[in-house]
């Protein structure tokens, strides 16, 4: 009985202390999500509360963007395609750049490390709206970027107004056009040729913008992890005869794997949800080549009053993000050694055996030479 009394009081106090957080998260996060799930299956037109003003219509909203041929499906397909190229462009580039910057500012010999750290981090703390606006000016047809390019005698494109896809340009070199063999078939209302468009020139600017703004944040994560890599491990690698590149790729990078996982996950989530840059760059212009699912959901809800379709797009986006994160987790899963690792291990064992044989034959003087090599 005594024990019950003490524990009982603790539980009550525990609930009391967590109550504010539970209530806030429940009211502002969990309930809205459930309400949004309801809306995505309903015909709510945005008047009054969805509860009581809407009827469930099954999966019609999801069918409109996934299976029913029409404009909604085509828009959704276009948005997915654009965002896919955006993700493929941004995530590898920003991760590589962040890692590179982190390694540079982590070097002891570098003078003024504090300055560089701040400088690289600066774009991350600046509002993305401000940076996008500046980019719009920089990349205008007669802007600074084209001015610099023209010094080399190149006539730069009109970046934000150019809807032509990079992939289509490459296909064009090989003589594959819109009417070619890729014109048939396709998915989500777009032909295979449309899917292979690559990012448009305008989208490429948004990719550069995202890499520029986010690599600073991720540099910070890598920097924290790098400072946890103990000096002894590095020294041990050096004594074993590993050069700087070998040390980095075989010792430092594997130690950074948990951070790499974090950075890739955050990068994937952030890039699939891109909205503000698109909103500012003209809401999908030029030619819907910068349209993304997040913006499409906004447009369907606020402009076309198709709230059901808008929320359905949001949940499809959620599923896409979860899928990509799972794939990424599987790729980066913990393995003792990958296929190349196994190969390397086999070669090392063979070399050791051969050296041992040689040592046996050649006497003790040469023993161990091969191991140090």
């Amino acid at each position: 009985m005594v024990r019950n009394n003490i524990r009982g009081g603790e539980a009550r106090a525990g609930w009391l202390f967590t109550a504010p957080a539970v209530i806030i998260i429940g009211v502002f996060l969990v309930l809205p999500i459930f309400l949004a799930v309801f809306v995505s299956f309903s015909d709510w037109n945005g008047r009054g509360s969805p509860l009581g003003n809407a009827e469930l219509i099954g999966t019609d909203n999801y069918a409109a963007v996934l299976t029913e041929e029409g404009l909604s499906q085509r828009d959704f397909g276009t948005a997915i395609r654009n965002n896919l190229y955006y993700v493929l462009g941004v995530v590898p580039l920003q991760t590589a750049l962040a890692l590179f910057l982190a390694v540079q500012v982590n070097r002891r010999i570098l003078k003024g490390r504090g300055f560089f750290r701040t400088a690289f981090y600066f774009p991350s703390v600046t509002s993305s709206i401000a940076i996008t606006t500046i980019f719009i000016f920089l990349f205008a047809g007669s802007g600074a970027v084209n001015g610099i390019i023209s010094w080399f005698g190149v006539d730069g494109p009109n970046w934000f107004a150019d809807p032509s896809g990079v992939g289509h340009k490459i296909l064009g070199v090989f003589g594959v056009g819109a009417a070619g063999p890729l014109a048939d078939g396709g998915m989500l209302g777009l032909s295979w040729y449309d899917w292979l468009s690559g990012p448009s020139v305008a989208m490429c600017v948004l990719i550069i913008l995202a890499v520029f703004t986010t690599s600073g944040t991720f540099m910070l994560l890598f920097l924290a992890a790098l400072q946890n890599v103990s000096q002894e491990v590095q020294e041990a690698a050096a004594i074993d005869g590993a050069g700087p590149f070998r040390t980095f790729f075989s010792v430092t990078l594997p130690l950074l794997k948990p951070t790499l996982f974090t950075v890739l996950t955050l990068g994937l989530i952030g890039t699939w949800q891109v909205f503000d840059q698109v909103y500012l760059a003209g809401g999908g212009d030029p030619g819907k080549t910068t349209l993304t699912p997040a913006y499409l959901a906004y447009q369907a809800s606020f402009e076309n009053l198709d709230w059901g379709e808008g929320t359905a797009i949001s949940f499809l986006l959620f599923l896409i993000i979860v899928t990509f994160t799972l794939i990424q987790r599987w790729v980066l899963r913990d393995r003792d050694a990958g296929r190349s690792g196994l190969r390397r291990e086999k070669r090392a064992v063979q070399r050791l055996r051969a050296d041992a044989e040689a040592a046996k034959l050649g006497g003790n003087a040469d023993a161990g030479r091969g191991i140090v090599r």
Partner: protein
């Protein structure tokens, strides 16, 4: 223990107060102040609407608050979702059918004593299901706006003012120099569409979608011929945000815009321009008209007061005052005539009202139009026949949904 109870009570009380504060406005005091939500073109418009609302307030004794929306569509949508829409708001032409189709709007048009004064085209535009829903606030038509200095420089005279496609091509060619192009206008249906209409084409004919007609194709091909000749460039290609900026910054000698062109005087005070009716095509003269109406939310408890406010705001005198303040044209025929007589610079825009058509705007058409605009983005290589065929199919689907 007692102290804990007290603090819990205090916390709960505080939370209740905060929540009550947030939900304010939903109570029974809604008759006290009318809220008018506008999307403004600038300080001149805000000041004019506020002054008019205050004048009505003094007359009727009902307080009015004019609020400026940063993003009208967004703020209206959240207002309606929260069951707390403004009492009166600007309803844009391209969203009217969507809002009316979803039952957002109160039909009050026929209750207005001045309902008969409006241009019949605009009454039709704001009619949904046979009911005149809301009063057109004002209107604008598209005209041809010419930089008069460049005109004189090119040696052109009043006799050369374009009246048909041929003379438009000639003028645009004469006005094209290495520094500026002859003609520019937005790369979108709301501008290019006038050429389709001038060729005799239309989008909806009665209950039928006729977007893929040979006339529409002819209109697009005429625009293409100007483009290929290098005398037409779209604003984005010459580093301008819109036609007005292209004209003001001297990047284009002629643009197709509406009376809102007046707005460039602030940024480009040295640009001299004059506006004319759009040239006629093989199918006769044609232009687009754009209007907004005064929307009242369906079932609004303050409808009686707001309808009287709308009557005041759409009266002939008040409309002429608005027109003088920020360049729109009065939606009442008599007032428009009065205004045109006193202001020769905009006579061309008013004359356009006689044959102006409104761009296609049924529920769902906006999404199809934006797809059409997206397809036109690659103008130099676009296949117009297939674009019009898709336009036709998508409009048919949207029209079937809207019925």
């Amino acid at each position: 223990m007692r102290r804990k109870m007290l603090s819990v009570a205090a916390l709960a009380g505080g939370a209740a107060l905060v929540l009550a504060g947030c939900s304010g406005g939903g109570g029974g005091d809604s008759t006290e102040t009318l809220t008018v939500l506008i999307g403004t073109s600038g300080d001149a418009e805000t000041a004019a609407v506020t002054a008019a609302a205050d004048a009505w307030s003094a007359e009727s004794g009902v307080d009015v608050e004019v609020k400026v929306a940063a993003n009208l569509t967004e703020e209206l949508a959240t207002g309606f979702a929260g069951d707390d829409p403004p009492d009166l708001f600007y309803m844009s032409w391209d969203q009217f059918q969507t809002y009316a189709g979803n039952g957002y709007l109160e039909s009050y048009g026929d209750d207005l004593p001045n309902a008969g004064d409006f241009y019949p085209t605009f009454r039709d535009e704001y009619t949904f299901d046979g009911e005149f829903v809301c009063a057109p606030k004002d209107f604008s038509t598209l005209g041809l706006i010419i930089n008069t200095d460049m005109w004189a420089e090119a040696g052109l005279t009043d006799a050369d003012i374009p009246t048909d496609w041929e003379s438009l091509t000639a003028a645009a060619t004469a006005l094209t120099t290495p520094e500026h192009v002859g003609l520019s206008f937005g790369q979108e249906y709301a501008r290019i569409g006038v050429f389709m209409a001038q060729a005799g084409g239309s989008i909806v004919d009665g209950d039928e979608i006729v977007a893929d007609s040979p006339e529409n194709l002819e209109g697009l091909e005429y625009v293409k011929s100007l483009y290929d000749a290098g005398v037409l460039r779209f604003p984005a290609e010459i580093d301008a945000g819109w036609g007005g900026e292209a004209l003001g910054a001297g990047k284009a000698a002629m643009v197709i815009e509406g009376p809102w062109i007046k707005g460039i005087e602030g940024d480009f005070p040295d640009t001299n321009y004059a506006s004319y009716e759009l040239p006629a095509g093989p199918g006769g003269p044609a232009t687009f008209s754009f209007t907004n109406c005064w929307g009242i939310p369906e079932g609004s408890p303050t409808a009686e007061d707001t309808v009287s406010l709308v009557e005041f705001l759409t009266s002939d005198d008040q409309q002429v005052e608005f027109a003088n303040a920020y360049g729109v044209l009065p939606s009442s025929e008599a007032a428009a005539q009065t205004y045109a007589d006193s202001n020769a610079a905009i006579a061309g825009f008013v004359a356009g009202a006689d044959y102006a058509v409104t761009p296609v705007a049924f529920d769902g058409a906006a999404a199809v139009t934006s797809e059409f605009n997206a397809r036109l983005a690659d103008f130099a290589t676009a296949d117009f026949a297939s674009i019009l065929a898709d336009f036709q199919a998508q409009l048919e689907a949207a029209y079937a949904d809207a019925q």
